[in-house]
Symmetry: D2
Subunit: 373 residues, 4 copies
């Protein structure tokens, strides 16, 4: 887009409501990161494109030097206590990594800081785009920063997940952090205390890109007509690396939690719900969801509606990340701290946001935009 | 519901947000009307139930005396210039009716007034629930009340449709009027002038019960993500009397107009749209709609979603009428006049409402409710 | 239908291809059976009708004496080793039943024989319509009749399921047996030996009523065009007692086995398949299935199709049972024995039938009908 | 495929049932033709691929010399009385062509003959792949060859459509002819007489590639269960040149005729049917169809099923043409003449085939294959 090779569609921050808004331009953004696998970004793009037809091989070819530049800015990640299915995707070097939790945090922080210096960035927005990690039962160690620090110092790996370490590194480097996956320890109360202490904002969790987005747009309609939803079943088929990781029961449970809490919140009562996620290898980066909604109307008569959603995972998620990064960057520059609740419409489990109603979340974003005027 | 024989579902005015709200109770409502056919309300209820399973024959049986009481309050209607397909459904007596337009209006007004007196009603809310009439090209006669009165006095039947006469009668009887169908002359500027002159409120047009409701709930989502809708096709299958009337090209055109203007309004640009309505006799009172939405996201990649809606026409429309009547009754009691724009979420073409976004319409209703506090 | 109260639709044996065929007339059929619950047939019919609108209460009322007559012919069943979810639905009396397996068989056989005598039936066709039982791993005891008899004599309950005992009783009473559920021990080799020894025919397993029926009708099309099916996912939602029983993992596994073996048989290779069955209480006797089929065509291009099936369980299954009973009755009268393979089109796992292709199965039935000429 | 650049999927003649069958190998086939437009085959392939992702630009690039070779074998076509929508797509030169019908036939025949000589082909199979032409009412001129010849000699253009002239040229050049579109005069009785006179086989009409294919696979299932189909509605959305031509009412009517006659043939009675075809520009070469099937089962209970088909027009049609050409080539070599009815499963309106049941059609093909043994 910076080079004019692709249309500016699918990006909210390119909508006319942001005309004249002081967001970072695309050619001002520099991309880097940590990875526990060794695939180049170019190969990842080709893989997504081959599966779904979404990224043309010729586009990838024309961007070859850009991909190489990004790859040079990607450093090896760490993944302690990532769980079996994620660990097996890591390089042997990552798997053999025996650093303590504390030294890992320090290492990650320094990586971020040197990226910032080397690339002469005004600000760095750290986004967690790793695979969904299995839940951890929240305990005392997650309630206060002091307790968490004790656990980290005692190298209690079962208390953390990798993404928490990256969040910790971000906070201590003074960088805002966006949690785009559902892992539950990453922004636990102890971590939010850490961000507040360092005066940097954060937001999450779990980008709302497909079936849940539709759900949160549609469910209010049933409330407006006092149509009683009896059952709402959602079936998600996906075939990419995310889908592969979600085959693992624990990781899937983590994802389903954030997808399944939405309806009671919007409707004010709990219909029977079911969210299934199945890995369908042939779909590649494509996602299909079928939702069945059984509801009761006047005289108790039962009716139903269904929807199917046929999307492409990368194509739906990537622009959200760009939108969020640009917005968070501006908010950070203007001194905002804490949970950026006006970003709620982008997340399945928006921290600090009472409503799951997409439209109310949207109005919060509109209000923020107007207030920036 | 007044007798506790049916659950209070599907009625917004029974939602907890209206708890303690001074709406007319169900046993305070008295139903009457005009009809150009001879079917009893009991038989109509049995017909709907037989087709769709929505109204149990036993319920109809238990309400036999109530149906008879309503039928006693139904008087013969008038239908000048109703168009062929509607006229052929009228009784011979209605078809032979040679009254002038002016005398028809007077007759209808007196019917309403005697209903009010006989039933000792505080107020009468007149609702147009007749079949969709074919459009008329709006001309000078529809712009000012004076011109309209001239046309009526000259008995220019091609300038009016039956529903305009009922609206005229309502206004002159001091009754609020709800236009639940899409006929375009009924609330033309001249008529609105009439309502204003008589100080009674009105609202319309065309109850939003099914496919269009879903559309107006879903379309904003595409705007929120700047996903570009390329094409949105909607196919409506219905088998009841409404569907039969809509087989006629002109009547259908009238309906499609109100269904089809929605997307450009919400999205801010005009995708390719198509709305089809097909009569499927075997469906009876059931309605099925299939919508196909083709859209473009990041990098110009094309994706799609579909929904199907399986409803029952009477079951979806009836509670809206009850809701609107109760709300309009209250507004009238409190002295509101003009177009009741806060009722916009109930209509496909809400008069005086700039937005077709269901959620913004809903917020207007919420604001009105709060203001009544 | 015998009384002219219902149309003769949904029954193959009432299709014109059976005109003049010497099948038992409806008023020649007498219904009885065993049940482990206490619900009357009348209440069961009302329950199905209430859930789905499929059986009108008035029809049930008009048939009250017929339902009572059937109930008088229903005797208490037995359910040793039925598994937890089925056992808990049985009456306390059934649960306390401590008969040996052998004496249970004898008891059931005598019940059948006295039914036959008392009702003066020429023949009795025994049909297993009980809930799906969990699989048992087939072992030596299921291979030969001698071994099975030893296990029964030793009262080895874990080797059998209730439906095997009914089948045993039927065979020894000289009655043909139809296995309408997927339970795998019921018609194991040892049992087939028993039927052959007694010279009575049998057939099964698992009536093909909905999603699997469509699958077996549609899958051959992909073969005809050499379109390669990559993935075929089927999601079944059902809310009746069958659905309730299938919530239990082991019972569900039994069902899914018969649903899932179909595609490799028809296509000649094994695409990724998945069959899910979810209990959705609000659906009552209604069943909904969504199937997603991902396939590859010319140049390896990937396309897909989907279908949804909205049926009513009882309405789809009941006529199949009547059809099968009438056909088996005739075949028995004409001296057929062994597996009635020409009935293959009625079953998900047709015994002795090599093909799962619905159309080839149908041609076998057509050939049998012609041969009866 | 001849060069090993694409998998041999989607082609029936590459299915294992044809192993060892003496069909022409792909590298023995030579492609040429007539065209009234000027687009190169390479550009057409790129256009299809751009719309649907079905043909990779890189594949087109690697085949550049092959496309050029084909283009050199494509000569200018003729299109007298093609109708407005087709004529406007022709080059000015084609539009100005004032040849008589007879001289056009002679010209086309010579083109075919010189192609055959120049390329040293053993046989030439002529396939009509042009856009759907509007119907002509069949009259005396179409009944006998003598009458048709008189009309052609009198240059009565309104009696013919372009595709008839190509068929005439093929017959007189001794070439078999395949009619892949629905145009009704092309293989009228007079034309079949011509083919018989020249001793060459023919077959048509209208390739069965998508929605109709599924319909003809599925409809027999309803017969097998005596489920009464009440209504079957089919909605086709397509965006390519075919779709553009079908926007024109007369051309569409021609198409719908062949799509709509299928159900009464298979079911033995006529449910309410409706086939809609809508042009949706954004779909490009993609086709989507939604079918809604309302049916009645036991006790007259009404149920329904739906399917959606998401295909790519070129990808579905191209392999059928290759399959048919290879099979017709063999049949011609072996001296078959007349309508090749065993090819019925490939056509929407198979000439001389009584059944529309896909499975019966398939069995005819299987029988032919076996007979070739």
């Amino acid at each position: 887009m910076a080079k004019g090779l692709a249309p500016r569609i699918g990006l909210l921050t390119e909508h006319e409501m942001f005309t004249g808004f002081p967001l970072a331009a695309f050619d001002e953004l520099v991309f880097g990161g940590h990875d526990i696998r060794e695939q180049t970004t170019r190969d990842a793009a080709l893989e997504v494109g081959r599966d779904s037809g979404s990224i043309a091989p010729e586009l990838v070819k024309r961007l070859a030097s850009d991909f190489r530049a990004i790859d040079r800015r990607v450093v090896t990640g760490s993944a302690p206590n990532a769980g079996k299915v994620i660990t097996q995707m890591a390089t042997p070097k990552v798997q053999r990594d025996r650093r303590t939790l504390r030294s890992t945090i320090t290492r990650l922080r320094k990586d971020i800081e040197s990226f910032r210096e080397r690339e002469r960035c005004d600000r760095v927005v750290v986004v967690n785009l790793a695979s969904t990690e299995a839940r951890i039962r929240l305990a005392a160690a997650h309630k206060t920063l002091a307790a968490l620090d004790d656990a980290i110092d005692a190298d209690q790996r079962t208390k953390i997940r990798p993404s928490l370490l990256y969040a910790y590194a971000a906070a201590t480097a003074g960088c805002p952090f966006i949690h785009f996956t559902p892992s539950n320890v990453t922004l636990c109360p102890a971590m939010r205390e850490l961000f507040d202490e360092h005066g940097v904002p954060y937001m999450g969790a779990d980008g709302k890109t497909g079936e849940t987005l539709v759900k949160s747009a549609l469910a209010p309609m049933f409330k407006y007509r006092n149509l009683r939803v009896l059952s709402w079943l959602g079936y998600n088929l996906l075939g990419d690396r995310d889908g592969f990781v979600l085959q693992e029961g624990d990781n899937k449970a983590s994802k389903i939690d954030t997808k399944d809490s939405l309806l009671p919140n919007i409707l004010g009562y709990a219909p029977q719900t079911h969210v299934a996620i199945d890995y369908v290898a042939s779909l590649g980066d494509r996602k299909t969801a079928w939702d069945y909604i059984h509801f009761e109307g006047f005289l108790g008569h039962r009716m139903h509606m269904e929807f199917t959603w046929h999307g492409c995972d990368a194509i739906l998620a990537a622009p959200l990340v760009l939108d969020i990064v640009r917005l968070v960057d501006l908010a950070t520059a203007r001194g905002e701290t804490g949970a950026l609740t006006w970003l709620g419409c982008f997340f399945k489990s928006p921290i600090g946001v009472a409503t799951q109603d997409l439209h109310q979340q949207w109005h919060a974003l509109e209000a923020w935009v107007r207030a920036q005027g």
